[in-house]
């Protein structure tokens, strides 16, 4: 028993070592430079050893994704203290943008790359826990906004997808290097925020 846990612990340690090395490479050098052999080199093991801990590269990338979602969820811890649902919605959007700007490699992997989703597909798993969880949080906030009459009436799901779609679209354009070609490089973040501001303000019920 004790031996068993110690054994699994050792296994967990190398697993973690692999993930850390992978993280380091793809954050510092980009996803295209993240190869099995490159990871192996860093942790000073043979490339094939990695396959004893991860079924294939997609599985490894998927777990990096999970780490990313963990970090994103952490970033949203500051939401609970905000009383006003509309403000909470606004802040969630700002958090999202912040995450994308600060962790573009993570973001790309979590939302743009095909590889991590292929892991899900290969296991017959049709739903996507991490994405769903974040979306549910967003929907909850929007429901609160609707309940309190802070935004105009509408279908929760449609509004949620509109809001998420917009922030994702902005971050995605930036991460995929389409944004900076169209807006002055210095203004990118500012433009993203003012677009979000406009959206929230548009959705708001005119109080008067």
């Amino acid at each position: 028993m004790v031996l068993n846990t110690r054994k699994t612990k050792r296994k967990e340690e190398l697993r973690r070592l692999i993930l850390d090395a992978a993280l380091k490479v793809f954050v510092e050098e980009g996803l295209e430079r993240l190869s099995i052999r490159r990871i192996a080199e860093i942790i000073a093991y043979s490339p094939t050893t990695i396959y004893l801990y991860f079924k294939d590269k997609n599985h490894l990338l998927f777990e990096l994704c999970e780490l990313g979602f963990l970090q994103m969820a952490e970033m949203n811890n500051n939401l609970s203290v905000i009383q006003n649902p509309l403000e909470r919605l606004h802040r969630m959007g700002e958090n999202y943008i912040k995450f994308g700007i600060e962790h573009p490699a993570y973001y790309d992997l979590m939302f743009n790359q095909a590889a991590p989703m292929e892991r899900l597909a290969s296991m017959g798993n049709t739903d996507w826990n991490n994405g769903d969880q974040t979306l549910e949080q967003l929907k909850g906030i929007i429901r609160d906004c609707l309940k309190q009459g802070l935004i105009k009436k509408g279908d929760t799901d449609s509004i949620a997808m509109a809001v998420w779609g917009m922030v994702h679209g902005l971050v995605s354009l930036r991460v995929c290097k389409r944004f900076e070609k169209l807006v002055d490089a210095g203004n990118v973040v500012q433009t993203m925020h003012s677009a979000l501001d406009w959206l929230v303000k548009s959705a708001e019920t005119s109080k008067k």
Copy 2:
């Protein structure tokens, strides 16, 4: 002179043959299966021949992008007949969604993949004509909306990025297979449209 044009014509023909083959592969089998060797096999030439017509794979992909933008621009030909700028805005969004749904491989290449943009970067070209052109068209429509007081006052650029961001975000989530994991597969397109409807309605000045 005549010889010269005939010669360049022959060159153009093989160029086009390569692009067509590339198009066929990446539309039917996906971008990851589009390799130089695969193209060469289809056109029955040696792989290296392709390098006589395209500097590298990024240049080839960039030109596929251009074809995509051409097609997208064609799709927007139906805008000019619409008198009401707000309706025109709405339709432009619908066109965008339609394009993304009908040509996911093209869309991925045009907006998500790094490769085509690397061509621009490698040539020191910092701006992005095709994207800019589409964005300018959008801005023009928004300016018309503002001028006629059809939407609430706001900065043209911010509104443009909000609108483009949203439709791009939705299409992008769908193309990258994040959408269908969160919404019933049958409802994807419908959800996208109702999100767009909500946005346009929110932006609209309440007439009464």
